[in-house]
């Protein structure tokens, strides 16, 4: 019975999900493995919810991990591997979009905000310093009242 239940857990576990990166998938050469690992962390598991293929336990992610390692072992550079995958699956697979006509606004957003914001601040500060707000009538009256009070003392 105990055996059976454990087997059931194992089957259920396997059926629902394999798991993220498995020992058997890893490359023997530590340098190559490290490169492949870093690469897979930047590739999207396309059937998952915002997971990289390194994190994901979907069967597709596993296939892609194996594929990336094959390419790396075959001597492809990182860019070649990415190129290969993009040709097959589209830009969607890259978690870090490449700079292009389509994405310059995305990559430029932080700089744009800093520059525009900085200009806005400089403009506001400058304007403020050249033209301090004049006192309103009420403020002028209160100032006069205070000054008069002081004069009486």
């Amino acid at each position: 019975m105990r055996r059976f239940l454990l087997a059931m857990i194992a089957t259920l576990a396997l059926a629902g999900a394999a798991s993220a990166l498995e020992p058997g998938e890893m490359l023997k050469d530590p340098a190559l493995e490290a490169r492949a690992r870093a690469l897979t962390k930047t590739l999207r598991c396309m059937v998952c919810q915002n997971e990289s293929i390194d994190d994901s336990n979907a069967p597709l992610a596993r296939d892609l991990r194996v594929l990336v390692r094959e390419r790396v072992a075959a001597g492809d550079s990182d860019d070649e591997v990415r190129e290969f995958l993009v040709a097959r699956y589209g830009e969607f697979i890259l978690l870090e979009p490449r700079f292009s006509v389509r994405t310059w606004l995305l990559w430029g957003a932080p700089l744009l905000v800093i520059v525009l914001g900085g200009l806005g601040v400089a403009f506001a500060l400058h304007g403020k310093r050249t033209a301090p707000a004049p006192l309103s009538d009420e403020e002028q009256r209160r100032l006069d009242a205070i000054l008069n009070e002081n004069n009486k003392l």
Partner: protein, 659 residues
């Protein structure tokens, strides 16, 4: 019966919310004290009715009443009591009801503790709060009613998503919502100020505690969510730049900026227009987050349900409040008088820079989250914007913010002394450099690690420097320093704690991403594996039964220097109702580091498993940092000047000598 009564209570709450909106706003416009006075009692009664509905849903869950559709879909009779209770908000309908409850809670708090607010301001604030409540109550009642019946009633429920059957669900959503919805009060204050066309230091002093409270909750909520993901999802990551996480970090960034800019309004009567805009933006980000999560526009672990009518409804709410408030802003903001002037190098200047960097970070996260949606809608092209993008863009902005942070509190208001501040930070810089040399040279790491480590240590020691400066440490006698430390306002301690906290969090992040070790190995019983200074011996798997799950538990004896220091028991768990497997990590804490073990693919016959073992030094700092920040927030909240409230107008007071 309970379901129908609760439903009815919710309908009554909607009627009350309508009253809370129309009468006080009208009264404020007509300057009618009676109409304005309606706001407080109605807000409190409104809370009572929403609470009644919420308690009703909870009762249905605890009693496993599967004739209610929502309970049937998300509960199970064998589920432990705590998850029956927390399961109330572990689904779309229930979580929206929690949203409304928290909103009613904040309105009632403003009503109960807003006694020192000017009558018109209070009426306007509560009126706007009421309007938000109307929108969300309508949303719940028309598209997300948790009290729908199901006939015939099934005998058993479908159970709660196993990932949510965790203590994290008890704390994370309520904290997050207290933060999200807390910003509604800042928003209402901003809209009220625009309606009245008046903002002054007193206004900022009223807004700040609410913003601060919301910020404390949001900080804790985000940190809690991060820790939950870390131990539950089973691969040891703590932040994934998931769109839903982004949705929570957006109001946090805007809220943090708001906290700092409200300080300038309060102390120096400057930056008023910007602060009002930030208050609007912070809550807009909360609404946007709610929209992104609840509409199903984004696929994510948090999206319980995807129903287009809901998405359209929330989008309408979003457009109404964001568009309406921004239109009001454009119309009324020019009437707000700009306040005090200051030199670029000053405390105000530093806070402006803080706002600029935080806003840029928020804009980047926002762009990154929405860009793929927009691009696909416009061109049909699909791209992904994931963690590597955000690390590369938001990372540098935050590092810049943190490296400049220690200088801010050392600059004087109006006109600061940059050279003086720099000189006072030489010590902090020296310590940071020494830390880099020491740790970086011994433990190694990338250039980015060195920069991150420097910034983290500089921020922490910088915060301590602020304390030392304030108590004149080593410059006066120890006794006098001590007396000064006691006399220091709590708000000063608040800023010191919060600034040190974010430095600590960064230190944790740097350590986690650079000095963690990881082993992914296949193990047979009896085999041994080493990581860090630990040796783990795998002894085999066994079976363990829970109320609604079965575990395959692996057992590892953990030795350090030949002595057994722990027994690690990670498991692969299967929830019977849904047949869904989860990974139960085993985590042991040593100092500030953690040993994190998970197993996969257990083979019962041979006992073979594949194990992932991590040693993460200093990892706890990632969450202790935010806790320290929250403590800072609470300290600041308890500061005398906020407790007592705003001072009376200085008209009657005798003239004080110039400082």
């Amino acid at each position: 019966m309970i379901a129908e009564l609760s439903h009815y209570a919710l309908v009554l709450a909607l009627a009350l919310a309508l009253m809370q909106t129309v009468l006080p706003l009208w009264g404020a416009a007509k300057n009618d004290a009676t109409l304005m006075g309606v706001a407080e009692p109605v807000a409190i009664v409104n809370l009572a009715f929403v609470a009644l509905a919420f308690a009703g849903l909870m009762t249905l869950y605890v009693g496993s009443d599967f004739s209610v559709l929502n309970v049937f879909e998300n509960s199970h009779s064998a589920k432990p009591l705590i998850y029956k209770i927390t399961g109330v908000w572990g689904n779309h309908e229930g979580s929206m009801l929690l949203w409304v409850l928290v909103l009613a809670l904040f309105s009632a708090f403003v009503a109960a503790f807003g006694g020192n607010l000017p009558t018109r301001l209070r009426a306007n604030v509560l009126g706007v709060q009421g309007l938000i409540a109307v929108a969300f109550l309508l949303f719940v009642l028309t598209t997300s009613n948790p009290f729908l019946r199901l006939t015939p009633a099934p005998a058993e429920g479908r159970d709660l998503n196993p990932i949510l059957q965790d203590f994290g669900l008890a704390v994370h959503p309520p904290l997050l919502y207290l933060g999200y919805v807390g910003f509604s009060v800042s928003f209402s204050f901003a809209v009220a100020a625009l309606l009245e066309g008046k903002i002054d230091a007193a206004w900022a002093r009223w807004v700040r505690p609410w913003t601060l409270a919301a910020w404390v909750f949001l900080t804790l909520g985000i940190a809690m969510g991060s820790y939950w993901a870390y131990y539950e999802l089973g691969w040891g990551g703590f932040w994934f730049w998931d769109p839903v996480e982004n949705a929570s970090i957006l109001p946090w960034l805007a809220g943090t900026a708001l906290l700092h800019s409200a300080l300038v309004v309060e102390k120096r009567d400057a930056l008023k227009i910007w602060t009002v805009l930030l208050a609007i933006l912070a809550f807009s980000m909360s609404l946007l987050g709610t929209f992104l999560v609840r509409s199903g526009v984004l696929t994510s672990v948090h999206a319980f349900a995807t129903d287009p009518t809901r998405g359209v409804f929330i989008l309408a709410i979003l457009a109404f409040f964001i568009g309406g408030s921004l239109a009001l802003f454009a119309w009324r903001a020019p009437e707000l008088k700009p306040g005090g002037i200051f030199a670029p190098i000053s405390r105000e200047g530093a806070l402006v820079l803080n706002n600029l960097l935080l806003t840029a970070a928020a804009a980047t996260v926002l762009t990154g989250t929405l860009y793929p949606l927009a691009l696909e809608a416009i061109t049909g092209e699909k791209i992904s914007v994931g963690a590597p993008f955000f690390n590369r863009t938001v990372g540098p902005l935050m590092l810049l913010l943190l490296v400049l942070m220690p200088a801010g509190p050392l600059l004087a208001w109006k006109r600061g002394d940059a050279l003086g501040a720099a000189q006072r930070l030489v010590f902090a810089g020296g310590i940071a450099l020494a830390a880099v040399l020491l740790l970086y040279l011994t433990a190694g790491g990338s250039m980015i690690a060195a920069i991150g480590l420097f910034v983290a240590v500089f921020a922490i020691v910088g915060a301590i420097t602020e304390f030392a400066e304030r108590v004149l440490l080593f410059r006066v006698s120890a006794g006098e320093s001590f007396a000064r430390a006691i006399g220091l306002p709590r708000a000063a301690y608040g800023s010191i704690f919060a600034h040190a906290g974010i430095g600590l969090a960064l230190l944790g992040v740097v350590a986690e991403s650079n000095w963690s070790s990881e082993r992914i190995v296949a193990l047979e019983p009896g085999e041994q594996v080493s990581i860090g200074s630990f040796d783990l011996r795998y002894t085999g798997i066994s079976r363990r039964e829970g109320p609604n799950w079965i575990d395959a538990v692996g057992r590892f004896e953990v030795r350090r220097g030949g002595v057994t220091v722990a027994v690690s028991e990670p498991a692969k768990r299967v929830y019977l109702a849904r047949g869904m497997p989860t990974t139960e990590a085993s985590i042991h804490t040593f100092g500030l580091g953690q040993l994190y073990v998970t197993i996969n693919d257990p083979v019962p016959e041979s006992g073979r498993v594949s194990a992932r073992i991590y040693w993460k030094p200093l990892v706890l700092l990632i969450w202790l940092g935010p806790v320290l920040m929250a403590i800072g927030g609470v300290l600041s909240l308890s500061d005398r000047r906020l407790r007592i409230g705003a001072p009376r107008r200085a008209g009657r007071v005798a003239i004080a000598p110039a400082e």
